[in-house]
């Protein structure tokens, strides 16, 4: 087991070891001295398996991030000719000769690589260097930012957006449960938000494999795997953990997204552990952010100390989150429509829109197509969205004629995507799902409304203004 910590000593956010009187992490500072293997390999030779680490103009390696044990690089897949994120973990000298360490890592990585899901950054390849000094895995390169970075930049999210992120993350957890995989280190830093507003969970199932590769010396706290602030109470003990541990971590992550704070803050590993098992949840933080009661109730259950009092599975959590979303959408007056269309269909519509929104011909084509469809169908299935559709059509026409240009590029893309999505689902949705008004994903409606409401309001003001 790890070092018993002196009370009152702050711990490092990266590795959980105590900080010294100057606030520096002695362990991180010592470990950096051991990074030499990577630095000393000639740049041209920094390759692992099929992957070659990219270099900046000055010859330094393109680092995407680094943690207590591993460094993540931007790398090039020499075989498939694509960019990937390559995580490289240096195996401590003491563990290099241990086939068991290597085997444990490979077993963990193999299980993680079997998980394929739109909300999980896929693992392409993994392995260990022939000399046993490094383990690595290449994963899908996600363009975007982490939830942590997003909250630090923009502040806490509103309930709808935070809930949507939790729902997408839960989809990943549900898929993982089918593979008997537990994340063990779910936190804002491991949830990527793509530029298409999709969630991609990174390092799924790899926290344990990484720690195994680090050997016993590099465990952050004895057998502890994870990040104390977001870890479940049972992770601090020695009993095996199950998917309910990830549900707790997701609860702490959702809490952070809503408040910018962690539910149980502590300066030391021990303090955090004790507070998690002893203190009541500081729900006043949620009240201060006006988090709806239904969400507070759900958070309470996700963050229950006793795993038996949490949602029993990711599947059960998904039902609870969707119920919560239904209540919230009713509360804010947006009609709830049955789920049916996958939101990745909309992501595709958005990508298509980016391709055509900035050339007049492309724009005209979308307009013509959308206008024809809209004229040919009944307005009934569109319900409340009919007015939106018509306003969007008028806006695009005015924009294309050069009469109205007060539209940001971003809003224009969203409008084109929405038109594509709203009126032409037959072309985009493989299962021939009927129109939006009959079956739709409420997420998409809300997302589109959020992104375009102000633009459409401004446009309507312009339309009605005397000229």
């Amino acid at each position: 087991m790890g070092t018993p910590l002196e009370s009152g000593v702050a711990v490092c956010s990266g590795c959980g070891e105590p900080l010294n009187a100057k606030g520096d992490c002695l362990a991180c500072l010592l470990r950096t001295g051991l990074d030499k293997t990577i630095a000393e390999i000639p740049p041209s030779a920094l390759a692992f398996g099929d992957f070659e680490v990219e270099q900046d103009a000055d010859g330094s390696f393109c680092e995407l991030g680094h943690g207590a044990i591993g460094v993540t690089y931007l790398a090039h897949d020499k075989v498939l000719r694509r960019k990937v994120a390559l995580k490289v973990i240096e195996v401590p000298a003491a563990a290099r000769s241990s086939p068991a360490v290597r085997e444990r890592f490979l077993r963990g990585a193999r299980a993680a690589a079997a998980l394929r899901h739109p909300n999980v950054a896929g693992i392409f390849q993994f392995g260990a260097s022939p000399d046993g000094t490094h383990c690595y895995y290449a994963m899908e390169l996600v363009e975007g930012e982490t939830l942590g970075a997003r909250v630090r930049r923009d502040g806490p999210l509103d309930a709808k957006e935070a809930l949507e992120i939790a729902i997408q993350t839960t989809r990943a957890l549900t898929a993982a449960a089918a593979h008997d995989l537990i994340h063990r280190d779910l936190k804002p830093g491991n949830i990527m938000l793509t530029t298409e507003s999709e969630v991609k969970v990174i390092d799924f199932g790899l926290a344990k494999a990484i720690t195994d590769a680090g050997g016993e010396m590099d465990l952050t706290q004895g057998e502890f795997v994870g990040t104390p602030n977001f870890a479940s109470p049972e992770q601090f003990g020695t009993d095996p953990v199950d998917e309910r541990s990830d549900i707790y971590s997701l609860g702490a992550t959702l809490w952070f997204a809503l408040t910018g704070l962690v539910p149980h803050f502590g300066k030391t590993f021990e303090q955090i552990r004790d507070r998690k098992t002893r203190d009541d949840l500081p729900v006043v933080q949620l009240a201060a952010r006006k988090v709806p009661g239904t969400l507070v109730k759900l958070l309470r259950s996700m963050l229950a100390i006793d795993p038996g009092k949490r949602p029993a599975s990711a599947h059960e959590l998904m039902e609870a989150l969707e119920s919560c979303r239904r209540k919230l959408t009713r509360r804010i007056g947006v009609p709830y429509l049955k789920p049916g269309v996958r939101s990745d269909a909309f992501a595709r519509a958005l990508t298509d829109a980016k391709a055509c929104a900035f050339n007049p011909e492309g724009l005209q084509e979308v307009f013509d197509k959308a206008a024809r469809k809209a004229a040919a169908v009944s307005r009934k299935p569109f319900k409340e969205n009919w007015a939106y559709l018509q306003t969007m059509l008028r806006l695009v026409r005015a924009y294309n004629r050069g009469e109205y240009r007060q539209v940001s590029d971003d809003a224009l893309v969203w409008i084109i995507a929405a038109l594509n999505y709203l009126v032409d689902p037959f072309d985009m949705i493989p299962d021939k799902t009927p129109f939006l008004g009959l079956v739709d994903d409420a997420n998409v409606v809300e997302l589109v409304m959020d992104k375009t409401r102000r633009t459409l309001d401004d446009f309507m003001t312009w339309e009605t203004a005397p000229r």
Binding site: T3, C12, E17, L19, N20, A27, L29, T32, S60, R153
Partner: protein, 231 residues
């Protein structure tokens, strides 16, 4: 440096080199003495006296490079010194180490603060090793800081320091820090990589003063890390 410390042919140089090393590692030795229950002043005097003893008796000449690291040698010598009641009494009576190694107030305060930070350590050896690790990384960071300062990049160093030294808060993302520093994220990434490389070199150079080979540098760092992360 250690080789110089053990030189048979140039004892003066060896003595001076050892004195410099002792100055750098004054704090862990002081911590160890404090850990034995001595008061602040007695511990200061004893640590000073130990250095005098080390140099006067040319104890360093006895250090056999086949028999272990300088850190181990120094601790063993200190333990012998403290165990020798007669020596201790005599040196205390004569008023400590006769200032042959100047003891600055700031240095003494830092050493005491170091002792307080690690005073919960399970035993004296661990207390000493933790102090030693602190002194090593402090020397590495100091060297790095001086380099950046000399190059007019003190601000950059202060901003990037967290990427090597860690801290209670996670480091900013490259994107947000690049934005704040008004530079491209790729440039910032290069700066961070360079800083880590330079720090690594500085730290390893510091360790190299106390061991003979690069392999031993690895072993020393692993050993200290092990002391830090295991009970």
């Amino acid at each position: 440096m250690l080789a110089a410390g053990r030189s048979q042919t140039e004892p003066d140089i060896a003595g001076a080199a050892l004195a410099e090393l002792c100055q750098a590692y004054w704090a862990p030795l002081y911590s160890f003495v404090r850990g034995r229950g001595y008061s602040v002043h007695d511990a200061q005097d004893l640590t000073q006296s130990f250095f005098a003893y080390l140099l006067e008796r040319k104890v360093y000449a006895r250090a056999d490079r086949q028999k272990g690291k300088f850190r181990t040698f120094l601790l063993a010598s200190l333990k012998n010194f403290l165990a020798d009641a007669a020596d201790r009494e005599r040196t205390l009576k004569r008023g400590g180490g006769q200032n042959f190694l100047p003891l600055h107030e700031e240095q003494a305060e830092e050493a005491e603060s170091l002792f307080q930070t690690h005073s919960g350590a399970s035993n004296g050896d661990r207390l000493f090793d933790l102090g030693w690790a602190e002194a090593l990384v402090a020397a590495g960071l100091e060297r790095l800081s001086a380099d950046y300062k000399a190059g007019g990049k003190e601000l950059l160093f202060n901003e990037l320091r967290i990427f090597v030294a860690g801290g209670a808060n996670p480091p900013p993302t490259y994107a947000e820090l690049a934005d704040r520093l008004e530079m491209a994220a790729s440039t910032l990434r290069s700066h961070v990589t360079r800083l880590r490389t330079r720090y690594r070199e500085a730290l390893r150079a510091e360790v190299r003063r106390t061991v003979d080979t690069e392999t031993e540098v690895d072993e020393e760092l692993h050993e200290l890390l092990h002391v830090l992360t295991s009970a």
